[in-house]
């Protein structure tokens, strides 16, 4: 249960940063935090307390003593995607900074909705 709560808190912190922060880098960090929260939630779904890796490594090990491997595989994929998105976003921040010499979204008129 604690994992679910923590993952939602992490997502909300990220959402707060995306919506309220004025610095472009902090907004990207917020995006990354939302991603991390989602990843934590995914792993938590497959988690079993005291469970081991899903490999039949010792005799007598049954499937219900193992954690669910599918969410872990999903999270690996999602992490890679998250890194790619963050990289592209930061690349654009660099371009915006090179042009406007500022990271403050209040000073960049074309970023207003």
């Amino acid at each position: 249960m604690i994992y679910y709560i923590v993952s939602i808190i992490v997502m909300l912190i990220g959402l707060y940063a995306v919506l309220m922060k004025k610095n472009l880098i902090k907004i990207v960090v917020g995006l990354s935090l939302i991603d991390s929260g989602t990843h934590l939630l995914l792993v938590a779904i497959g988690f079993i307390k005291g469970g081991t890796a899903p490999i039949y490594s010792e005799p007598g090990l049954t499937a219900d003593a193992m954690v669910d491997p599918v969410p872990q595989a999903l999270v690996l994929t999602a992490i890679v995607i998250g890194v790619a998105v963050t990289a592209v976003a930061l690349a654009m921040v660099i371009r915006i900074y090179a042009q406007h010499k500022t990271l403050d979204i209040r000073k960049i008129r074309s970023l207003k909705w």
Binding site: L31, T38, I45, A84, V85, I96, W113
Partner: protein, 488 residues
Amino acid sequence: MPELFPLSPVHYVAAPLLAAFLLPLVAKLSRSFIKILPGLTFLYVLYVSAVLFPHALQSPIIEQIAGWAPPLGINLYYGPMAGLFASLFSALGFIVWLYSLTQMKQEPLDRFYILLMMLVAGATGIVLTGDIFNLFVFMEITAISAFSLTAFLREDDKAEAGFKYILIGSLASTFVLLGIAVLYSYTGTLNLADLALSMEKVPLSVRVIVFGLFLVGFGIEAEIFPLNGWAPDAYSAAPAPVSALFAGITVKAALYALARVTILLFPFAGSMALISILGLVTLVISELAALHQKNLFRMLAYSSMGQVGLAIAALGLFTAEGVYAALFAMINHAIVKGMLFLAVFAMAGGSANLDNLNGMGRKKPVLSFMFTLGAFAIIGLPPFSGFWSKLSVLTAMGQTGNYIMIAIVLATTIVEATYYLRATGRLYLSEGSPVESKTPLSAIAAVAVLAAGILWIGFFPGSIDEILTAGAQDLLDTAKYTEGVLKD
């Protein structure tokens, strides 16, 4: 089906991806490969379409990846609907490649073509896959290529438009991923067909929440109001060939995902009605916004959203006629709007102020004629493709007795006619600067192929009737879908 070997729907995704990753290598051998390779790739994929699509119309081709049977393995579902969209995407990819040969001058060209092929591969993957997490991955491939292409031109405020798109686009993918996570926690499966059968394990309240997550996630990519704030900026910032692909490919793929997931997993009357209403609101607001645009690309972008709204409104009727009409509207829009973007860019260049069209009727008669043709097709004048698509939308609405919807669609058509005829009037009635410039043949050829498509559907609407009917059935007959995927 041994006689189909070695062609398989996997090639739709594999060929462009392979070519995209090979491109930096072959670019080292010879610069001219950069321009040739994407064209060859799209030609090959079109060949795959030509061979496989007739089979898919008879019975869906279900491909298991790496020999793992669903629901454990990932499967591709190549039915009439997926085949139609996959073929359409490959054809649009080829046309945009043809157009870019001469019109795309901004270096680095190798990266442009890499992203272009990734965009097409990702969007085709979305319509082909039978696994919901796979769908998410393809959606991300499409989105990341789209983000980068939006900011491809290194000038003015392109990076800002790209940043806006990233911000909202990655929120969209988070919503979809959350929805997938919740569904998995209740059902323990990711296969779409298996999910459709296990939905009763999910409590109704959770289903509503997950539907909301998917609606927002796919809705952002599909430009549904009020989630489409990124679109006008992205359309006007991206190079015009890419804007044509946004209208023709990324939006259509997201719409397909929304339609497939909603009909398979959330087939309640309420979800359909909500989609229909959102479509109508999108239609009205976008058309009114388009009326005030001075920038041609923004005008086309808003018109694009309006067309999407029309398709969604028809889709939400949830009848065979409604889905048929929605498919028709989506196909029509992909062809016509793609053509309009390409024609405008070839005439007016990147600075697409409405005034730049002045007097083009004399300077570039062929392109002007084709722009006019596209404008008439979008408005829905006979005998163009748009007429039949709008007629089928109105018929579908009439059959379900939604006369208010018909009134709204007709009213927005008048708005549409106003701003498109205004643009067309500029071509022929205004005096422009007498600067002569030749348009390269490849650009005219690309636009002409699309124009031929508009006329073909306009004069022979029966020719695609069978495909659209099969596609609509394919989408609505969820029992056939789940049985087909899970039979072995």
